[in-house]
């Protein structure tokens, strides 16, 4: 087996895997925050559709959602580029999980914090960004860490729409070279990447441990 070719191809796959991971985080975090507001809204016209969205996104497989967007939507006349379809599916799906994590964090901030901010004249957005959100971030670190780690592994689902990410390369290489090495290599990569994610979350948790 030619290890230099294996390494080269795997690096290409890793690049895509990391891209899917980072872009999903980039889009799903803000979308999740917006969804959490929708979920907490007192207006039924807002919170019922959001609840329905969360049910669909969390209640059906991500693999199905990927295939629906890439293979299914064209039947409805909407066609996406392969990679774009992948990012859309991942972002929409992960935003649903993030939304509930944000909601848990936001609802755990005591009403006294909002009242103190109001009495001191803070506007609603100042209250949210200066008083509430920093406390929310500290509280949601553990569940967010879980989601990020799951996302690293879920990127492998992109192979169902033939994106040449790490798992796809691995599978092809293992088949053609009749070897177990590509699997071990891929496993090590996912482990290392999640090790890095874990370290980053520990560092953030430590950084925010200056208060209780």
């Amino acid at each position: 087996m030619d290890y230099s070719v294996l390494l080269q191809q795997m690096l290409g796959g890793i690049q895509l895997t990391v891209s899917i991971f980072l872009l999903t985080i980039l889009f799903a975090l803000p979308l999740g925050l917006v969804l959490s507001f929708g979920r907490m809204s007192k207006l039924k016209i807002v919170n019922i559709p959001v609840k329905f969205y969360l049910l669909i996104m969390r209640g059906t497989p991500l693999m199905l959602q990927l295939m629906f967007i890439f293979f299914g939507m064209p039947f409805l006349g909407i066609k996406f580029d392969r990679f774009l379809a992948c990012i859309i599916a991942f972002s929409l799906n992960y935003a649903a999980y993030f939304a509930e994590i944000f909601r848990g964090g936001i609802e755990s901030v005591q009403t006294g914090q909002y009242e103190a901010a109001k009495v001191l004249g803070f506007s609603k957005s100042q209250t949210f960004f200066r008083i509430v959100l920093p406390q929310v971030i500290k509280r949601i670190i553990p569940p967010m860490g879980n989601e990020f780690i799951t996302l690293v592994k879920d990127t492998s689902l992109a192979l169902t729409i033939s994106i040449v990410e790490l798992m796809n390369v691995t599978k092809a290489f293992a088949n053609s070279s009749v070897s177990v090495v590509p699997y071990i290599f891929a496993a090590l990569f996912y482990l290392v990447m999640n090790g890095v994610v874990t370290l980053l979350f520990s560092a953030l948790e430590k950084k925010l441990s200056y208060y209780k």
């Binding site: 005591q110 103190a116 009495v119 001191l120």
Partner: protein, 255 residues
């Protein structure tokens, strides 16, 4: 000068009427104590004045500005949002549970509103904050975080935080109720020294001795109405009112 005028305040939570036709005046330099059993509506009254709750009907005027008044149908109508915020800045509130911002240092708890809301330069806000902390006997704790402080210290920081915005009227919602008994003294001492500086204050309290010694005027509330209002001597010394009598008797019995 009248700092606060409340007329015919009515407020219900669902079917429960918690404030029934409350009338109240606070003049500059007054220290008003509001006493009464739990559920009598005294905290709700304070919250309504602070715009943390809305009234159903009546009129509230703060430092000559109308916050809310009745329309022709007798329903409360508030001033526009901007005016409400502006009027609210005449007032400061000290909470029972302090409600300090846990992620800010003591200093930043005090400066944050003055910098972001009033646009005070940071250095100036910090100078004011340090002076206030000095006055509260906490100058050396400026860089501590709230969790590192005792309840009494936290409450003193929250008083400094309220004072930093230079309110014309400072309200206290049972400022010692969340504290261990041995810590209530330090808070009462601070309020007493503010009274000596002629700070206008309204204090909802269960500390009868404090109400008796520091307040110029005492209001006894029960079941959503002001049962009695007068000087401490009148209310504590020789009340003619049966409800006040039985409340004070219960209190003395508990002591």
């Amino acid at each position: 000068m009248k700092m606060l005028t409340a007329k015919n305040i009515q407020k219900s939570f669902g079917k429960l009427e918690v404030l029934k036709d409350i009338n109240l005046d606070v003049n500059e330099g007054d220290v008003l104590a509001i006493i009464g059993p739990s559920g009598s509506g005294k905290s709700t009254l304070l919250r309504c004045i602070m715009q943390l709750d809305t009234i159903d009907s009546g009129e509230i005027e703060i430092c000559g500005n109308t916050l809310v008044c009745n329309n022709e149908h007798g329903k409360a109508v508030y001033a526009d949002k901007k005016s409400c915020v502006k009027i609210g800045l005449h007032l400061g509130l000290v909470f029972q549970n302090f409600n300090l911002f846990p992620h800010f240092s003591v200093l930043r708890n005090i400066t944050e509103a003055s910098v972001t809301v009033l646009g005070t330069p940071k250095e100036e806000a910090e100078k004011t904050a340090l002076e206030l902390l000095d006055k509260m006997g906490l100058k050396d704790r400026a860089n501590a975080y709230p969790y590192q402080l005792s309840g009494g210290q936290q409450q003193r920081v929250s008083i400094a935080r309220a004072l930093a915005l230079k309110p014309d009227l400072l309200l206290f919602d049972e400022p010692t109720s969340a504290l261990d008994p041995e810590l209530t003294g330090e808070i009462l001492k601070v309020i007493r020294s503010l009274a000596a500086e002629k700070m206008t204050m309204v204090v909802v309290t269960h500390e009868m001795a404090f109400a008796q010694n520091v307040a110029d005027r005492v209001i006894f509330m029960d079941d959503g109405v002001i049962v009695e209002s007068g000087t401490p001597d009148q209310v504590f010394g020789n009340t003619q009112n049966d409800r006040t009598k039985s409340f004070l008797a219960r209190f003395n019995g508990n002591d």
